[in-house]
């Protein structure tokens, strides 16, 4: 799974990304000082609970946020800052360089267009392929995702189940062989077994084309199963980032630890206290009101700190790095 070599430069680098929205109730700080790097061929999972801002990060990379969003920071891709590109330039990157797979596939597909046409569309519009050829390629793509047959090609989204539509979405996103795929809660609304199946297929194709995957999910086990590295978000901030297995076996941040204890297999131990407000988040470390080992210093903002990892990657490589935003380190 891990095809990354230590000397690889990151393919996508997010620097100090902050997103806020002006709403009638006030300024909502959806993401604050988010930094991470995505390497070639790897799968990075951005995990967190509802409202922690993980989808906002994905949408801001793609410039898909509504216009009441204020975005700061940079997202460097191929030497260019994606956040400063014009709509036209961004359109050329979307789909062909960076693709996104939405949650809720049955609503994200055009209801009155055949699925094959929706997949083939970009080949015709952007690459100028003739209709027959692009439809053939679309059929191949669907075939690879486990949807065979001419009858399937002629179907409309309303004739498909959610899982089948999710495959169509993935096919449409991957048809131009993008270098980065962002999957925004791809498993939401699918049954457990089906979600795993779809995700496995997605990971397979991703490896075939050599793309990187940024997986946005609330499902910790899914993230653990298919990602190389994992970033845990809480209330708009990344609290901890590191190798997935390592985070699971040895969570460093108190929030990560508490979150893992909520997992069914660890006995459903709840985190005390309510989720924080996004408009007036707690000062200092955002987790401190709910943290079991709070101290005076937690009222000030902690910094991302590198801690020793004990990963499988060779010593000195980037992947070994484990970063935690907590005063204890």
């Amino acid at each position: 799974m891990n095809s990354r070599r230590p000397d690889d430069a990151p393919i996508l680098q997010i620097e100090d990304l902050s997103v806020s929205f002006s709403t009638a109730t006030g300024q909502v700080k959806a993401a604050e000082n988010v930094c991470f790097k995505l390497y070639k061929g790897e799968t990075l999972a951005l995990v967190g609970e509802t409202g922690c801002g993980k989808s906002v990060v994905a949408s801001s990379i793609m410039q898909l946020l509504p216009n009441n969003a204020h975005i700061q920071g940079r997202a460097i891709y191929a030497g260019r800052d994606l956040l400063s590109l014009s709509e036209k330039e961004m359109s050329r990157i979307r789909g062909s360089e960076i693709a996104i797979v939405f949650q809720n596939p049955s609503l994200a597909l055009n209801p009155i267009m055949r699925v094959s046409e929706q997949i083939a569309e970009m080949l015709q519009v952007r690459k100028g392929y003739p209709a027959a050829q692009s439809l053939e390629l679309a059929g191949e793509m669907l075939h690879r995702l486990g949807l065979q047959g001419d009858d399937k090609m002629r179907m409309y989204p309303f004739q498909f189940s959610g899982g089948m539509n999710q495959r169509v979405m993935i096919a449409a996103s991957m048809i131009l062989s993008p270098r980065i795929i962002i999957a925004d809660e791809p498993s939401k609304g699918l049954d457990g077994a089906l979600a795993a199946e779809v995700m496995a297929e997605m990971a397979r194709i991703k490896n075939q084309v050599g793309a990187s995957l940024l997986l946005i999910t609330h499902d910790l086990n899914l993230a653990r199963n298919i990602s190389d590295r994992m970033a845990v978000m809480y209330c708009g901030e990344i609290m901890e980032i590191g190798e997935s297995e390592e985070i699971f076996s040895l969570p460093r941040h108190p929030y990560t630890a508490a979150l893992l204890r909520c997992l069914p297999e660890r006995g459903f131990q709840p985190i005390p206290g309510p989720s924080p407000s996004m408009i007036k988040p707690p000062a200092g470390c955002k987790f401190h009101p709910r943290c079991p080992n709070i101290s005076e210093v937690c009222r000030r903002k902690p910094k991302m700190t590198r801690v020793e990892g004990r990963g499988t990657a060779p010593a000195g490589s980037e992947s070994e790095i484990r970063e935690v935003k907590c005063w204890r380190y």
Partner: protein
């Protein structure tokens, strides 16, 4: 503030919400803070909200001034509209908007006509909205056979060309604004019924209606306290838009001379100008002013209705 009151689709329109003296109830977008992702993907920009408020504020002010004009006609009008002066006077200092062929002061006529025009518009819209809401609620809530029958009737009413039918019926009866208003109310409810029905169909499947049913509340209780408050925000703009189309229809029917000749409305004023040579002789002040009044009033009602619908669209995106 006024703009809040017109735009907040939420608590203001339901009387029972006034219980909590909390500032929360005045919040327009009373959504949860932590669900930022959904808010972010959907909320229209604050600027846009502001613009909508401005638009509907203008509409509201105009609307209120027309209503005031209708209520205080006697106080506001410079003359009795039936009083006769020199005919065909151009607008001037004595008669601000001139006089007509009978020598009536146009400005006074205009102010008095507001009453009938608004009355017909409101009465028709009120009746239409009432019928439409009841039909829509029943059809949507009970579904099945009730729905089939009620919607079948609605479809038939939808296909009747309303203005020609009103013309035919009104031509048999003695001209009266009451009849015109009544007829319009009886014919105009269909689109309201459709909108209310489809919203009711949505609402009845929502968790809280199911929960109410499970808790053992009666159908009537559920329809009036659960379903109706959650359809109000589609009914209100529909009501405003019905006023608008009723006003246009009234003006059209009066233009044909089917209005009561002993009472004045904007439509009859234009009718008189048209049939008694005001138009052919180029007495523009006679027919342009009532026409502009119609347009302006309809415009402000439509503006308010659209602003409301827009607000609703924003809320819907959040749901």
């Amino acid at each position: 503030m006024i703009p809040d009151a017109t735009l907040c689709a939420s608590p203001e329109i339901m009387p029972e919400a006034a219980e909590c003296p909390d500032e929360n109830k005045r919040q327009c977008c009373k959504r949860e803070y932590s669900r930022t992702e959904r808010i972010s993907m959907s909320l229209c920009s604050a600027r846009e909200v502001l613009r909508m408020q401005k638009m509907s504020l203008v509409g509201l002010l105009l609307f209120l001034s027309f209503v005031l004009m209708a209520v205080f006609s006697e106080e506001l009008a410079p003359f009795d509209p039936w009083m006769r002066f020199e005919p065909y006077l151009l607008p001037g200092s004595e008669h601000l908007l001139g006089t007509n062929d009978m020598g009536n002061d146009i400005l006074s006529e205009l102010i008095y006509s507001t009453r009938i025009s608004l009355f017909v518009g409101f009465a028709a819209a009120l009746m239409a909205t009432l019928i439409g809401t009841i039909v829509g609620l029943l059809a949507g809530y009970y579904k099945g056979m009730t729905d089939e029958i009620l919607m079948g009737i609605t479809d038939i009413f939808l296909m009747i060309p309303q203005i020609p039918l009103i013309i035919v019926i009104a031509s048999f009866l003695r001209p009266s604004f009451w009849i015109v208003a009544l007829l319009m109310g009886a014919l105009w409810w269909t689109s309201t019924a459709r909108v209310v029905r489809s919203r009711t169909l949505q609402v009845r499947e929502m968790g809280f209606v199911q929960a109410s049913r499970a808790l053992g509340f009666s159908d009537l209780h559920i329809i009036f306290t659960d379903v109706l408050p959650n359809t109000c925000h589609v009914i209100a703009p529909k009501f405003l838009l019905s006023i608008a189309s009723a006003m246009i229809a009234e003006a059209s029917i009066s233009f044909l001379g089917l209005g009561d000749p002993t009472m004045k409305s904007w439509g009859t004023m234009i009718n008189f100008a048209f049939t008694r040579g005001g138009f052919i002789n180029g007495y523009w002040w006679w027919y342009l002013t009532p026409g502009l009044c119609i347009t302006l009033f309809v415009l402000c009602v439509v503006l308010m209705g659209f602003a409301w619908e827009e607000q609703e669209r924003t809320n819907q995106r959040l749901e």
